[in-house]
Symmetry: C2
Subunit: 104 residues, 2 copies
DNA sequence: CATACATATGAACAAGTATCGATATGTTCG
DNA sequence: CGAACATATCGATACTTGTTCATATGTATG
C-alpha cells in the first residue's frame, strides 16, 4: 500500500475527468461559493454575476461528476458540495496554490 | 486562518489553470510516470506509446506551470515533478478518486 | 386553472486545444 | 566539421467546450 503511485490508465482517465471539471474558473467559483453554505441557483448567478443559464449548465456537469448535490426547497434548489471528500480536496488545493511561491 | 475557504477571483483563475493542465489524461499519465523517477522524453514516449512530438508539447505546458522540471544529462533530458508539493497533490488526488466509491 | 417565479434544457457559435507530420535546434562523438 | 541522436518548435486540422439566447419543465400561489 506504500506505492500505489501509478494509477491504471482507466483511473487516470477518471482522475483527468475530475480535474478537467475543476479546470474552469467559473466552475471553481461556483464550488467555492457553495463551500460555505448551500446556495440557490439564483443566488449563485447574482452573487457571481453569471447568467442563470450558465450556472445551471455548470451545475449540471458538477452534478454529473457527483461534485455537488442539490435539494429542492419550495421553488428553489440549494446546491452544496457532494461530500467532505470534495470539500477537503478543494481546500487542500487552494492551500497548495497559496503556498505556491517561495518554495525553493 | 481557519476559514480561507473562498479564494479571490484571481486565485481562482490560477487554481483553475493548474487544474486545467491536470485535466488531460495524457498529461496525467506523463506526470504519474515521472512520479516514480526522472524519465527522459524518449522513455516517456516509448513507455506510454505517444509520439515524441506530443510528449514534448505536453512537457512544455507542464514546465510552464512549474509542474515538472527537467535537467539535461548528455543528450537526454530527464523530467521529474517540480517539487514535493506537486507530487503530494497528485498522490492525494489519486487516493481521493480510488476511494470515490462506497461513500454514502 | 392561470400566472409568476426558479431552474433546466437545447441549438448554435466562438474560442481553445490535443494531436500529428515535418522540420529546426541542440548535443555528443568520429 | 559532419553525422547521428534527442528534444523542441511550427503549421495545420479535428475536436472539445464555455458561453449566449430562446424555450421548456417544474413548482407554488391567487
Amino acid at each position: 500500500m506504500s506505492k500505489p503511485t501509478v494509477p491504471s490508465q482507466l483511473d487516470t482517465t477518471i482522475l483527468a475527468e475530475t480535474f478537467r471539471l475543476l479546470g474552469d474558473s467559473t466552475r471553481l467559483r461556483i464550488l467555492f461559493f457553495c463551500l460555505e453554505s448551500p446556495r440557490s441557483v439564483g443566488d449563485i448567478a447574482a452573487s457571481l454575476d453569471l447568467s442563470q443559464s450558465l450556472v445551471s449548465h455548470h451545475l449540471r456537469l458538477l452534478r454529473g461528476a457527483r461534485l455537488v448535490r442539490g435539494n429542492r426547497q419550495a421553488k428553489q434548489i440549494f446546491y452544496e458540495l457532494a461530500d467532505k471528500h470534495v470539500s477537503d480536496m478543494l481546500v487542500d488545493m487552494a492551500h497548495h496554490v497559496c503556498e505556491e511561491s517561495g518554495e525553493e
